[in-house]
């Protein structure tokens, strides 16, 4: 009964989406405010029905109702509750449910919190949202219905893919989707503005919090996925330039660019047409990301669906939404009025520089990811574009961006003082030079350029600190006055500093691990020792352990410093899941400060020896710590008073007298 209710609720949601997608548009044509105001309550109702549908599916998963095919195929009653719940989105159908659930959630938020939006803009934006939702409802109902029943219910399910049985599954996909789908809001607002043919600085102020929120979620979503892959796949890599990873990186790059160009638009009224384009591109890349991951055109652990009809359906969605949006843009964008003037050396100029490099870097990732698909379609040749390509293209584009980043916040709007900014960054630059020298002095191994990477990372971090120091005038005024100034600083300024600092932290982590990480692969027997860095590991032997739905063969290792001082124990294991007859490697991590020891086991040999992989990862935690800084920075910026108070609008009396547009 419950699955049927869920199915039915989803169909009702489709009906509501069609109403929400048409009525407001008709209302705008006929200047009928009543029709336009239909959008908000319908968006709320739609949310209620999708939430019901989602809850129905969740209920089936949590109670292990194996009469539902989707639950039978992806769950097992022996799994702990958190995996029984999160396996809902560990498969194609369920992940699409999560997608639409988040989509309507955002739609409902716009309906509730968008009370100060102009009627027409809100109505149009919600209508566009509804069209996106309708397309995805159709997709789910026609090609990927999660509520299909089996006539005779099996006693036990086929279990979730063991690689996905991890707390990472509870975190990574929802955060990633919050990011992807969050960009649908800026997309809808962009389309609404194009439909109206009118846009102003207030538009950017309305859209910015949504972009910021989506960007924050996407940032931690990507970082979470990276950490998950790092410890779960047993290879110790944090980024593989896998197409699926690239699929999430592209919207992030475009979203970051959008975040910055929207600032220019809000503050200075410039870059309007460009910002609209970025809003369209960011969501288009999110859709392409969904397509790449879900259609099965790319082979990876994420490819749940290999059914070609789904691929064609998603392709149709892509063509209609991206093609339609870009056509509308080409047709209507010339109507939008151009914004203000600014000198090349200015805050605006710096943000344009940022946008230029971010979008270009995004384009190289796009080409590298899709070129193999295009080539296979055209010539049949199968190729792979691997890390060397991306390192050779993405790296050179990102380095100048990093080097220039600290200058941006120190420049004034309209006309900046490059020399002044450089003077203020002198201390940061000196710090960077010291870091380079120190890196050369400490590490003799590794690439020659690596210390310069460290230098840039330190420059970025010190630059972010300089920004705050300049604003609070610390060291120049008495401490108490500086603290008072710090308290009075707008939160968005703190947000910028935090996020930029985070970029530096991540960069430092990446450079350290890539240049100075070490690796040992060996076959060892009980009693053997392994040396890496300043550590010595001794292997105490293997033992067995049973989990709820798996068996573990655990290797126990004692870790000591070279001097003999005990540091801790590491217990990597090989985990076998009988339901799928599949084994996974559970790596053991030992965190020391921001560095980690990483140990994973291979298949034990009959003679009792075990192959092991041991890595020393210097500063590796910084990679993800940087993302946390970025998230916090985004949050601070989001809590800025300016965004909470809302956009300026004409006095109420005047608004009443104006005819509805």
């Amino acid at each position: 009964m419950i699955p049927e209710l869920g199915h039915y609720a989803l169909m009702l949601a489709l009906g509501l989406a069609l109403i929400q997608g048409t009525m407001p548009l008709v209302g705008m044509r006929t200047n009928d405010a009543v029709l336009m105001n239909v959008a908000s309550p319908v968006a709320l109702a739609q949310f209620v029905f999708v939430a019901l549908s989602f809850a129905a599916l969740a209920e089936c998963y949590v109670t292990s109702d194996f009469s539902v095919l989707n639950v039978y195929e992806n769950s097992n009653s022996a799994m702990p509750l958190i995996y029984r719940f999160s396996s809902l989105w560990g498969n194609h159908e369920g992940s699409m449910m999560l997608w639409v659930f988040i989509l309507v959630f955002f739609g409902a938020l716009v309906a509730v919190f968008g009370t100060n939006l102009p009627t027409a803009l809100k109505a149009n934006a919600l209508a566009v949202q509804a069209w996106i939702a309708a397309a995805f409802y159709l997709f789910i109902l026609i090609t990927s219905n999660p509520f299909v029943r089996i006539a005779e219910a099996p006693l036990q399910g086929r279990d979730l893919n063991p690689i996905l049985q991890d707390p990472g599954l509870a975190f990574h996909p929802p955060m990633l989707y919050l990011g992807y789908v969050g960009f649908s809001i800026s997309f809808s607002f962009a389309i609404a503005a194009l439909l109206e043919g009118r846009i102003d600085a207030a538009w950017a102020r309305w859209v910015r919090p949504w972009v910021l929120g989506a960007w924050m979620c996407l940032t931690v979503g990507i970082a979470g996925g990276s950490y998950w892959a790092y410890y779960e796949l047993g290879w110790g890599g944090f980024w593989f330039w896998d197409p699926v990873e690239n699929a999430s990186l592209m919207p992030w790059l475009a979203g970051t660019a959008l975040l910055h160009s929207a600032v220019v638009m809000e503050k200075r009224g410039a870059l309007k047409v460009w910002t609209i384009l970025l809003a369209i591109v960011a969501f288009s890349l999110s859709l392409i990301g969904t397509f790449l991951v879900r259609s099965g055109v790319l082979t990876s652990v994420h490819a749940f669906a290999t059914d070609p009809t789904r691929g064609i359906f998603i392709l149709a969605i892509l063509v209609v939404f991206i093609g339609g949006a870009l056509s509308l843009y080409a047709w209507r964008a010339p109507l939008l009025r151009q914004g203000g003037l600014f000198a090349p050396i200015s805050r605006e100029g710096a943000l344009v520089f940022n946008n230029l490099f971010l979008t270009t870097a995004c384009a190289t990732v796009f080409v590298g990811t899709l070129y193999p698909l295009a080539l296979e379609a055209l010539t049949g040749a199968k190729i792979s574009v691997g890390p060397p390509f991306f390192n050779a293209t993405f790296g050179p584009l990102f380095i100048p961006l990093m080097a220039v980043m600290p200058f941006g916040p120190l420049m004034g709007w309209k006309r900046g003082d490059l020399l002044g900014a450089a003077q203020r960054l002198l201390a940061a630059a000196m710090l960077a030079c010291i870091a380079i020298a120190a890196a050369y002095a400490i590490e003799h191994r590794g690439p020659v350029l690596a210390p310069f990477g460290v230098g840039i990372a330190v420059f970025v971090m010190a630059g972010a600190a300089t920004d705050v120091a300049e604003r609070t005038m610390i060291l120049r005024v008495p401490l108490r006055a500086a603290v008072r100034r710090a308290m009075g600083l707008p939160r968005s300024a703190w947000g910028t500093a935090f996020a930029h600092f985070g970029i530096g932290v991540t960069l430092l982590g990446i450079v350290s691990v890539t240049a100075w990480g070490s690796e040992r692969i060996a076959e060892i027997k009980s009693g053997d020792t392994l040396d890496i860095g300043h550590y010595r590991l001794s292997f105490d032997g293997l033992f067995n352990r049973a989990g709820p739905n798996y068996r573990d063969v655990v290797g126990r290792f004692t870790v000591r410093r070279a001097g003999g001082e005990l540091v801790g124990a590491m217990e990597p294991s090989r985990r076998t899941f009988p339901a799928r007859n599949m084994a996974t490697t559970e790596a053991a991590l030992l965190t020391r400060g921001v560095s980690q020891l990483y140990l994973s086991l291979g298949d034990p040999n009959p003679d009792g020896s075990v192959p092991v992989r041991l890595y020393f990862k210097p500063n590796v935690v910084m990679i993800w710590l940087g993302a946390v800084f970025m998230f916090v920075g985004g949050g601070l910026s989001l809590s800025d008073r300016r965004l909470r108070v809302g956009a300026p609008r004409p006095a109420r009396a005047k608004a009443v007298l104006q005819p509805a547009e």
Binding site: Y72, I150, E152, P154, L155, Q156, R158, D159, N161, I163, G234, T299, S300, V301, L341, A343, P344, V352, L356, F357, T360, A361, A363, T364, V367, G368, Y371, A381, K382, I383, S384, V385, G386, P388, F389, F390, A392, T393, P396, L397, I521, A522, E523, R574, A579, R580, N581, M582, A583, T584, T585, S600, G602, D603, N605, P611, V612, R613
Partner: protein, 158 residues
């Protein structure tokens, strides 16, 4: 500067960055692209020794032998041809005889493929797409690969 000059400057700068990016990409494509080949492709296309390729197929039954220091040797087959492969390191969890495999590396002068990476991004119910296509092409695709994948465990379905 007039508005027009500024805009031209902006467009010029943009095109400059784009040109650099295109140059980087073309360079990257020249140096770092790896072609996928089945064992038959390797023989028929006369892949030069030293060229980096991906070799995909099935691990031939009974061909796996382990040596010292985690050295392994096995043969990759597509039913028509076999290529001997050597690799040093820990094999992925899902590496098994009779299963699909993709190895990245280069041929040496004696026709032995020295792999430095063994890819195993597929689970047991899933064959790497390239390998499946190659097997279909060589006529050695068996439908039971797909069926085995779809078959529920423990005879739960009736």
């Amino acid at each position: 500067m007039t508005r027009k000059q500024r805009r031209l400057g902006l467009i010029g700068g943009g095109l400059g960055v784009l040109a650099i990016a295109v140059a980087l990409m073309l360079n990257g494509f020249r140096d770092s692209i790896v072609f996928f080949n089945s064992p038959s492709d390797v023989v028929e296309k006369h892949v030069e020794p030293g060229t980096r390729i991906r070799l995909g197929g099935l691990v031939k039954d009974g061909s796996l032998s382990r040596g010292k220091d985690l050295r392994v040797r096995f043969e990759v087959t597509d039913g028509n041809r076999q290529i001997p492969v050597t690799y040093q390191g820990v094999l992925p969890d899902l590496f098994r005889e009779g299963q699909g495999v993709v190895a990245e590396g280069a041929l040496d002068g004696g026709g032995v493929f020295n792999a430095d990476t063994i890819l195993a991004k597929h689970d047991e119910t899933y064959m790497p797409k390239e390998v499946a296509d190659a097997l279909k092409k060589s006529g050695h695709w068996k439908d039971d690969y797909a069926q085995r994948a779809a078959m529920p465990v423990g005879g739960a379905s009736k």
